[in-house]
């Protein structure tokens, strides 16, 4: 018995080995290297050990605080709206009586096949000063003067959030749809007999049953939002200079690594701050979700 287990163990490693090597070289090693860098101040190839100096510098770095604030605004405003919409859309799509189901599903999912760059550029054109949105709003007399969407601190954020909603809602909807198909129809039948309305069924059956999916999509969206880069880079950055109000942490890391006079050490320490924030948020989200998630 033991012998045969060892035999299969050998095969198991053969299956895993390539992905494991790639994981170690391109994930574990850079992660450790990055941590090492974060304790150093770098100018070109000159490295000096600063310990936690970079992290101290971060606390008084206005640009960093601003980037952190921007990222959190996107997180707090966009993710709840997106997930609520995704869940509602999935619930409608899961209805047995619905006709043209696959049309609706395809249409709503379609935005997420576009590249983040393409969709950002598309929305940039739509919301440009003399673009479609201003023409339309002036046409129906909603506004008199064109709005400078992409360089106005408030509206630029709104446009980024709209772009994110358009691009990602359908993607999350698919996960909810998958979760909904695993809920036993007998739960709804029983509720129907007890006279529960559709709304009550949604809140007392659908939402609790979808808890693992809600947790999964929340964690994934949090990670995604904290890594936000392509959209602000292509929507609100002109000649490599981002708008202060929409600059995200990833953009700030990029600027510190490749645009400003490069300081890899400082950039690495910012990225470790992001890792810490993501880990913290994930722990909080798992705690809030309780013990229901055991996968």
């Amino acid at each position: 018995m033991l012998n045969s287990r060892n035999k299969y163990d050998k095969y198991a490693w053969q299956f895993i080995i390539v992905s494991l090597i790639i994981f170690i070289i391109f994930m574990v090693f850079p992660a450790i290297n990055s941590f090492y860098l974060s304790l150093h101040s770098t100018r070109g190839i000159v490295k000096t050990f600063t310990g936690l100096g970079n992290f101290k510098r971060m606390l008084s770095d206005r640009m960093f605080i601003q980037a952190l604030k921007n990222t959190f605004i996107f997180l707090i405003v966009q993710v709840p709206i997106m997930l609520t919409l995704a869940m509602l859309l999935a619930t409608c799509l899961n209805s047995k009586k619905l006709k043209y189901k696959s049309f609706y599903r395809t249409a709503i999912f379609l935005p997420c096949v576009t590249s983040l760059v393409a969709c950002s550029v598309l929305f940039k054109m739509m919301f440009s000063n003399e673009g479609l949105m201003n023409s339309l709003l002036i046409g129906i007399n909603m506004i008199k003067e064109p709005i400078v969407w992409l360089s106005h601190p408030f509206w630029a954020r709104v446009v980024i959030i709209i772009t994110l909603l358009w691009r990602w809602t359908g993607y999350n909807m698919i996960f909810f749809l998958a979760g909904l198909q695993n809920i036993s129809p007998s739960l709804y039948e029983a509720a129907e007999i007890d006279g529960a309305t559709k709304l009550e069924q949604f809140f007392y059956i659908t939402v609790p049953q979808l808890k693992p999916i809600i947790l999964f999509t929340t964690v994934m969206s949090t990670i995604g939002t904290l890594q936000l880069f392509d959209e602000p880079m292509n929507l609100t950055t002109t000649n490599g200079v981002p708008l202060t109000e929409t600059m995200t942490i990833s953009q700030y890391i990029y600027l510190n690594s490749f645009v400003y006079s490069p300081n890899f050490g400082y950039a690495a320490s910012i990225s470790y701050a992001v890792v810490a924030i993501i880990a913290l948020l994930a722990i909080v989200q798992f705690k809030v979700a309780g013990d229901k998630y055991d996968n």
């Binding site: 992905s19 859309l89 409608c92 760059v117 749809l177 990670i223």
Partner: protein, 274 residues
């Protein structure tokens, strides 16, 4: 009784209304993009929503201003190579984790899952210096190699492989089939929809990738579609008609692939939640 009936009516009106608004908002930018590629820049910004006659003019300008054809082939090459190798490597890995349980490997798997939390920006700098040392700047392998075993895809395959009954594997072993034969002859054909779903996800990741190619690909010769579009859109003078056409070229292949593989994709995605 009447209230029940009217309640149902209201419910379906709300349902169809909500879904229709969702569908219209989702599709509108695509339609606008198609229409605008046939219009002059002036008309696009003025909000013209009718097709025009400028398509070939825009195409001519796009071909003159950029090397979009080369970018298209660059992107295709990177995406195809990356998709094939990523599917192979990740599915084998996931199978190894799922079908042969051991404590050590579970610990390794936990690290894979944890790595999903590490933002790419945190790895970017060491990866960049590594790629420079390997001499892979401006090389497609510089883009592909670091992304060959993405944790999410390994996780996705493992979740899907849970549905393969151990009895089938045992039966094949008794018949004398080797472990890799079992994987390629039994598991792979049985899990076609999972492979399709994963293929679409990986294909889209690479086709649409921006940040990493932006860093690694530095000469015009190797640029991908996203890089070309991004630089077109940040130029001092932007021709909207040309840009629209560029976006269509970058988007259409993914739409076609998604629409043709949609059935398998949805099946595969639904399977992953079990």
């Amino acid at each position: 009784m009447i209230t029940r009936k009217s309640q149902n009516l209201i419910n379906s009106i709300l349902m169809y209304g909500f879904l229709s608004i969702g569908a219209i908002l989702s599709l509108f930018p695509f339609i606008w993009m198609l229409i605008s590629s046939t219009n002059r820049a002036v008309d696009i910004t003025a909000g013209r929503l009718l097709p025009g006659l400028e398509f070939f003019n825009n195409l001519k300008n796009l071909l003159n201003d950029t090397n979009i054809i080369r970018a298209f082939f660059n992107t295709t090459k990177i995406t195809l190579i990356a998709t094939i190798f990523t599917l192979l490597i990740s599915s084998l890995g996931a199978y190894g984790f799922e079908k042969y349980s051991s404590k050590n490997r579970e610990i390794i798997y936990k690290f894979f899952l944890l790595s999903m939390m590490v933002p790419f920006a945190a790895l970017m700098i060491p990866l960049f210096t590594m790629i420079v040392k390997m001499g892979l700047i401006d090389n497609y392998w510089g883009i592909i190699l670091p992304l060959l075993a993405p944790a999410f895809i390994v996780f996705f395959f493992r979740q899907n492989f849970k549905s393969i009954p151990s009895e089938i594997i045992e039966a094949a072993r008794i018949d004398g089939a080797g472990e890799f034969t079992i994987f390629f002859r039994i598991v792979f054909p049985a899990m076609k929809s999972s492979f399709s779903a994963a293929a679409i996800i990986v294909f889209m990741t690479h086709w649409n990738n921006f940040l990493w190619p932006l860093i690694v690909l530095q000469s015009d010769k190797t640029k991908t579609l996203t890089l070309v579009i991004s630089s077109l859109s940040s130029a001092y003078f932007i021709d909207y008609g040309v840009l629209m056409l560029g976006i269509i070229i970058a988007t259409l292949p993914v739409i076609i692939i998604f629409l043709t593989m949609q059935k398998q994709f949805v099946e595969g995605m639904l399977g992953s939640s079990k």
